[in-house]
Amino acid sequence: MAKRGLQQINAGSMADIAFLLLIFFLVTTTMDVDTGLMRRLPPIPDKDQKQNDDKIKQRNVFVVLINKNNDLLVENEVMDIHDLREKAKEFIANPEDKPDLPEKDYKEIPFFGRVYVPKNPIISLQNDRGTSYGTYLMVQNELLAAKNELRDEISTQKFNLKYEDLDEDQQAAVKQYYTAVLSEAEPKNIGGNK
């Protein structure tokens, strides 16, 4: 036996083995990408920190309420969710300088120079414990979409590019142009419903 020269390993079954492994990985692999809405929660307020929400003027706040039947009350009007985006856009930009929409002021912004923009509009979102998560997320999405659309509009106007394609400095400038803080009310348990 030893006298014979070193034999070549039979590689014929190599393909079969590889196929087997290949099929295993094909089956176990998951290609799905996770997508979602990024948000930041506010930190828990200090106990001795003073409440200062009474200083904010009514016109600077855009109140969105969702009840347990998933109905929307926006600025004291019942509204369909499909109209929310337009309404929110009007609030954030206040193009006609209406007295019941956010106060505007002159602001120095790089690239844009001196512009007349709303000072600090706040969107306040409040929901019931019985609201369904789907509706809640849809509202979040619409409000975010309103902001993103406005930013896209202004960056296409100025740089002829979408907001996403701008460089960092430009993005920061556009961000300053339209600021809107989305604040969620501290949960309250009204009516004790579950």
């Binding site: 990408v33 996770d34 997508t35 990024m38 414990r129 369904s132 789907g134």
Partner: protein, 157 residues
């Protein structure tokens, strides 16, 4: 015309399969590299809501997942049909969320701890009550970067 006449003239030679293993190995390596093993076994049923503004979730290793939804059919006898919270592989309560976050944070590199984020995978029919409780727990655990997991669509229904 002569092209067609050749047909049948010569016998069809077998395809050379010597390079087949190489091709298969190439595919194999591709799948081995891209594969991500499913790490959790879902005990709750989740149908994610849709959103147009959804962004891709970066750096999966820095993300912890919290699943909220109705227990799957196999578990309904044990846990009922009320929405429950799943952390890792177990159905847990709201009070366990803080511990879970602390645990996840400890498992990370110190430099990454500040970049930690939490992805909430919540069924769209869940009531906000339980979600609000979880959000409050996350605030107490100071895990403030969260991500509402949703499917990216171009237009809402």
């Amino acid at each position: 015309m002569s092209r067609f006449k050749k047909k049948g003239g010569k016998e069809l030679s077998a395809i050379n399969t010597a390079s087949l293993p190489d091709i298969v190995f190439m595919l194999l390596f591709f799948f081995m590299v891209t594969t991500v093993m499913k790490e959790v076994d879902l005990k709750v049923n989740i149908r994610l809501p849709e959103a147009t503004e959804a962004k891709k979730l970066e750096k999966k290793s820095l993300v912890s997942f919290i699943y909220i939804g109705k227990p799957g059919e196999r578990f309904q006898k044990l846990f009922g049909t009320e929405p429950r919270i799943q952390l890792n592989d177990q159905l847990m309560q709201v009070k366990d969320v803080e511990d879970f976050i602390a645990q996840e944070r400890d498992a990370m590199n110190e430099s990454d701890q500040s970049k930690m984020s939490v992805s909430l995978k919540v069924d769209e029919n869940t009531k906000m009550g339980v979600v609000t409780d979880v959000k409050q727990a996350l605030r107490r655990a100071s895990a403030l970067k969260i991500n509402y997991s949703s499917l990216k669509v171009d237009k809402l229904k």
